[in-house]
């Protein structure tokens, strides 16, 4: 599966990248929201993992853009954030995020959540192929 990770913290990006590569995924990394939007258009990932607080474009804006279909096809999105407040989590789910992980978290837990969303990603990918 092709997964795009967007996070402005290098160490976070590296650890998630290595963990997902270990699971056999193809990983694209970006360090800010604007770059993430460009990479989504360019690489058409099957899943997106985005931090909320990023320069230029926030993770929530990415969710909104992807779920409205204004970037490319709809794909599952996992939001990462240090903010565990109820209103932020609810806003993310309202916009269409498929999962929400609060930092600190375990990369193994993220890996499991990616696995859980993989069937949905595949289904969305197939729907898109049939549709086009």
């Amino acid at each position: 599966m092709k997964i795009l990770i967007a996070d402005d913290e290098m160490i976070m990006l590296k650890i998630i990248e290595l963990r997902l590569k270990k699971d056999g995924h193809e990983v694209i990394v970006t360090s800010n929201g604007q770059e993430a939007v460009e990479q989504i258009k360019l690489h058409d990932p099957d899943m997106i993992i985005a931090d909320i607080m990023m320069p230029f474009t926030s993770g929530l804006e990415i969710v909104s853009l992807v779920k409205k279909g204004s970037l490319h096809r709809k794909v599952p999105i996992i939001i990462l954030s240090s903010m565990g407040q109820e209103n932020v989590v609810l806003e993310a789910f309202n916009l269409g995020a498929d999962d929400y992980i609060t930092k600190p978290f375990s990369p193994n837990e993220l890996s499991m959540r990616v696995k859980r969303l993989a069937p949905a990603a595949k289904l969305l990918s197939k729907t898109n192929e049939n549709f086009s």
């Binding site: 290098m10 590296k14 650890i15 990248e17 290595l18 600190p104 978290f105 193994n108 837990e109």
Partner: protein
């Protein structure tokens, strides 16, 4: 404008001429100009050199961080000790690690990266980070930083020890919890709680400086992520000479519903400090029993207006018919806000309260012509 400039230039010319004729020789003036030109050139050269060195250092830091990221990343996702040892002894990474063996600033960079990583991850990743911390023998570097003369370096070291869960350093951090520097003290207190949870609050028995309201909130926030295990020393804290400690202990009793300490909180109702009394009133109303309302009424007269109003509000939820005589007496209080709160309490306690109030007061006169419709609406 032109006239002003011309007159300014002529004034300067006159001053120079005056100086030249009365104080300086032409050679002296020339030497002075040369000196100042040299000074300017030297300053510019110094600034450039400084910026060049700073840039070089920054570039080195970025390079080290980049090489560290891959290494820490690999270590972080290892699933067994064998895998950890394999990555650690990888020749490519050994050459990276060699740079972090001796130079203090580089070792500090490695510590910072590990502490930052441990803030964001948990589970096996956190354990792997701690494994690397031990393997690189970085604790000594942190302990060295604790001896630094600059307070902020000490504070950073304390913070990092906490993030890296160095529980065996608790005794070293403990004295800093009563340090004269407020920020250093605050970091040490937070660090202890972060590492050992409720046991870390032991510093409250020794702290002589005030624990600020903000610091109390930080401690409570830190405690919220741990399970309440022991608050055994609360007895001692409630009798502390440090008023902020007493107030904090009252808060803990309230938040963690420590009913066992009811009698100690009761004693605080007669404390010499009004701030402590206020918190004691709030706390006791949260761990109340059948005697609490009477107790609050008994202490009512000795309190300031703020606490008295609070008590009247508490009686609205906790009051019983036993407090009705007291509440009826408050209806004659000169302060209208007291009348309002007492009337509300009476209405909540007794079904016939409104009739009883109307018998006692003149419903058409101010303030009752305003209060009565208000409390009837609430009821």
């Amino acid at each position: 404008m032109l006239t002003i400039l011309t007159s300014f230039a002529s004034t300067i010319n006159e001053v120079l001429n005056y100086l030249l004729h009365h104080f300086f020789t032409q050679q002296m003036l020339f030497d002075t100009i040369i000196f100042f030109i040299f000074l300017i050139v030297a300053s510019i050269a110094f600034i450039f050199l400084y910026l060049f060195r700073k840039n070089k250092r920054w570039q080195r830091k970025v390079y080290l961080q980049k090489s560290l990221n891959s290494f820490i990343g690999e270590i972080a996702i290892c699933e067994s000790e064998d895998e950890l040892n394999e990555i650690f002894s990888n020749p490519d990474y050994q050459s990276v690690l060699l740079q972090f063996q001796h130079i203090g600033s580089d070792r500090n960079l490695l510590i910072s990266e590990l502490a930052e990583t441990s803030k964001k991850f948990r589970g096996s990743t956190m354990e792997n980070i701690l494994w690397l911390f031990e393997k690189m023998e970085l604790r000594n570097q942190l302990l060295k930083n604790l001896e630094n003369k600059k307070w902020h370096k000490k504070a950073k070291a304390i913070q990092q020890l906490a993030y890296l869960q160095q529980k065996n350093c608790v005794d070293i951090i403990l004295p800093f919890t009563n340090h004269e520097n407020e920020l250093l003290r605050a970091e040490a207190q937070i660090a202890l709680v972060k590492m050992t949870g409720f046991e870390g609050l032991e510093f409250l028995s020794k702290v002589t400086y005030p624990v600020s309201e903000w610091q109390q909130l930080r401690l409570i926030e830190e405690l919220s992520s741990t399970t309440c295990t022991s608050l055994g020393n609360i007895h001692e804290w409630l009798q502390s000479e440090n008023l902020s400690v007493v107030n904090f202990a009252l808060r803990l009793v309230e938040i963690y519903q420590q009913f066992d300490f009811y009698d100690e909180v009761k004693r605080c109702l007669s404390h010499s400090s009004m701030a402590v009394c206020k918190n004691a009133v709030l706390t006791i109303s949260n761990i109340s029993n059948e005697t609490t309302a009477d107790l609050l009424v008994a202490h009512f007269a000795g309190y300031d207006a703020f606490i008295q109003t609070k008590i009247l509000k508490i009686l609205q939820s906790d009051g019983t018919e036993a407090q009705l005589p007291f509440l009826f007496s408050i209806l004659n209080h000169p302060d209208d806000s007291y009348k309002l709160e007492a009337a509300k309490a009476i209405l909540k306690i007794s079904d016939t309260g409104i009739v009883a109030i109307e018998e006692l007061i003149d419903r058409n006169a101010f303030p009752w012509n305003v209060i009565l419709p208000q409390i009837k609406n609430v009821a």
